[in-house]
Amino acid sequence: MKWWIAFWNILVKDMRSYYLKPPNISWGLIFPLAWTGMFFIKSGSGLEGVLSMLPGVVVVSILFGTTSMLSVTVTFEKKGKSFDRLLLAPISLELLMLAKTSGAILFGAANAFIPIILAAFLTDLSQAVWSAAVPAIFLLAVTSTFLGLFIAVSVSEVFEAQTFSNFFRFPMVFLCGLFFPIERLPVFLRPLSYVLPPTYGADILQGAFGAGNALPMPIDFVLLIVFSTGLFLLSLRNIRRRWII
């Protein structure tokens, strides 16, 4: 069995069918830009404020770019039973779910570079530490995608997936230290910030774009890998328990 043929074709089909469609681009890209624009205007800072806003818009772009479509499409395919066709194929569940999530990871990572490219025209990015920023973007995309997968396999209906996604996404945006530094959050909310994966991705990006990071970068990276692995394994467990009944 040439498993890579199955892997590649699942990835290509999902990219064509879902991720490169206009509604997904609008939700995954325009929404985070508008969101960040709102904070930018409110802050009253000029173009020099662009650099400080960049980690925020990158994280939100990844978060919305990855979770917006994956959680809905997996639920949709399961509901329409076309997902059963994948479960009947002679490929392992691990490989199948990696193939299903790869499209979202790539789309999320690509989304992250659009605000960076825009920022390059508005401000000086020569001081950015790309060796930290690029792996952080990739790991954030992986973690967010697996969060989307976890949401998808925890619900039965498409509308539940959308509602459940927002239940995670919006608190994450506020609590991960992007728009409000964690030390300025009420004491009882701070522990919550530290159990959210974007907190660590945002911390790396803030360090990479010169705003200063709170935790050493290796710890941030390790924690992102732990979150990714944990969410992926938890999702596989849920698929085995809930879908192969």
């Binding site: 069995m1 040439k2 498993w3 043929i5 199955a6 590649w8 074709n9 699942i10 089909k13 069918s17 329409g80 039973k81 076309s82 059963d84 066709r85 994948l86 479960l87 009947l88 194929a89 002679p90 490929i91 392992s92 192969i244 009944i245």
Partner: protein, 329 residues
């Protein structure tokens, strides 16, 4: 060669429960290589649950499953390269064309680009869908969707094919075409497990049949063996105008060795262990004021066997069929 390797499918004491419903109970059967085996039962009998357990879409509570000698009970993935599955609902991708759907399904089995394109074209031609190859699956008719779903199930040339209610809910012409395709696949040597609630379909296509009712297999045998006891019976049907309600009792009294059954539409069914003499029957009926329009011998069918063994009236199964919208023979 031992017994296990000869059997394409071996199922031993398979069981599955959904909360308080015992979907499948203690099911054991074997399907020989190259056999077309029928699973016949009403809706909710446990046919789809059994297929799901055999193919890895459901986990058995108890029992063992062997596909081509491979124990798949704990690892259903082990034999998935040998099997093809056509589910009871057409589950291809609505946004893809017929051709792209087949190519995608072929890729799931590791077929390279050249091979999968050639195979997709071949199957579209075989199934009469070549003209619709570039149309999106969402725009296909029900019959076309079923045909493409069957084509997707055999795209990788499986040695064992699971067909779950392949003709349910489609028009008569498409259903006939699909039955011919199933017969052709069987002729070509594919082992087929066919579930259906169409008795005539099972009788026409299958070599052996299992009757399943409320999750239990109540009988497994060849069509010939199932029909044999009933074929020794003589059955006749009389079409009568102005039938009286008391006719049945009077006939039973006058001909105690014969069994009478009044059917809708002025029909009287007569069953006996010896040849039925029509003259005395007609005379009695006419003396009672009824007019006999037609008398014809009825060939006993698998439907009679099914009713006798399961106690389920075939008419009830037919109603389900009509509700699902077609698929008649």
């Amino acid at each position: 060669m031992d017994k296990v390797s000869v059997n394409a499918i071996s199922v031993d004491r398979l069981a599955k429960r959904f909360e308080d419903v015992q979907a499948v109970a203690d099911a054991s059967f074997e399907v020989l290589q190259g056999e077309l085996f029928g699973f016949l039962g009403p809706n909710g009998a446990g046919k789809t649950t059994t297929i799901n357990m055999l193919t890895g879409l459901a986990r058995p509570d108890a029992g063992t499953v062997r596909i081509s000698g491979i124990d798949c009970t704990q690892n259903p993935k082990a034999a998935q390269h040998l099997t093809g599955v056509v589910p009871d609902e057409s589950n291809l991708y609505p946004e893809l064309t017929g051709f792209d759907n087949l190519c995608f399904c072929a890729a799931l089995y590791g077929m390279n680009k050249k091979k999968r394109k050639a195979r997709a074209r071949e199957l579209l031609e075989t199934f009469g869908l070549a003209q619709a190859a570039d149309r999106k699956f969402a725009g296909y008719s029900k019959g076309m969707k079923r045909k493409l779903t069957i084509a997707a199930g055999i795209i990788h040339d499986p040695t064992i094919l699971f067909l779950d209610e392949p003709t349910t809910g489609i028009d008569v012409a498409s259903a006939r075409q699909i039955r011919q395709l199933i017969a052709d696949l069987h002729q070509a040597g594919t082992t087929i497990l066919l579930t259906t609630h169409y008795i005539e379909e099972a009788e026409r296509l299958c070599g052996r049949i299992a009757f399943i009712v409320q999750g239990r297999i109540v009988r497994i045998d060849t069509v010939g063996n199932l029909l044999q006891p009933i074929q020794e019976r003589h059955v006749m049907q009389l079409a009568v105008s102005n039938p009286d309600f008391s006719l049945h009792d009077k006939l039973a009294e006058a001909f105690p060795n014969q069994i009478f059954k009044t059917l809708p539409g002025g029909l009287i069914r007569v069953e006996a262990g010896e040849p039925i003499r029509v003259g005395p029957l007609v005379r009695l009926l006419e003396e009672q004021g009824a007019e006999v329009n037609e008398a014809r011998r009825v060939q006993p069918s698998l439907e009679d066997v099914f009713v006798k063994i399961t106690g389920i009236e075939a008419a009830a199964m037919r109603k389900e069929k009509e509700k699902k919208g077609g698929g008649g023979l």
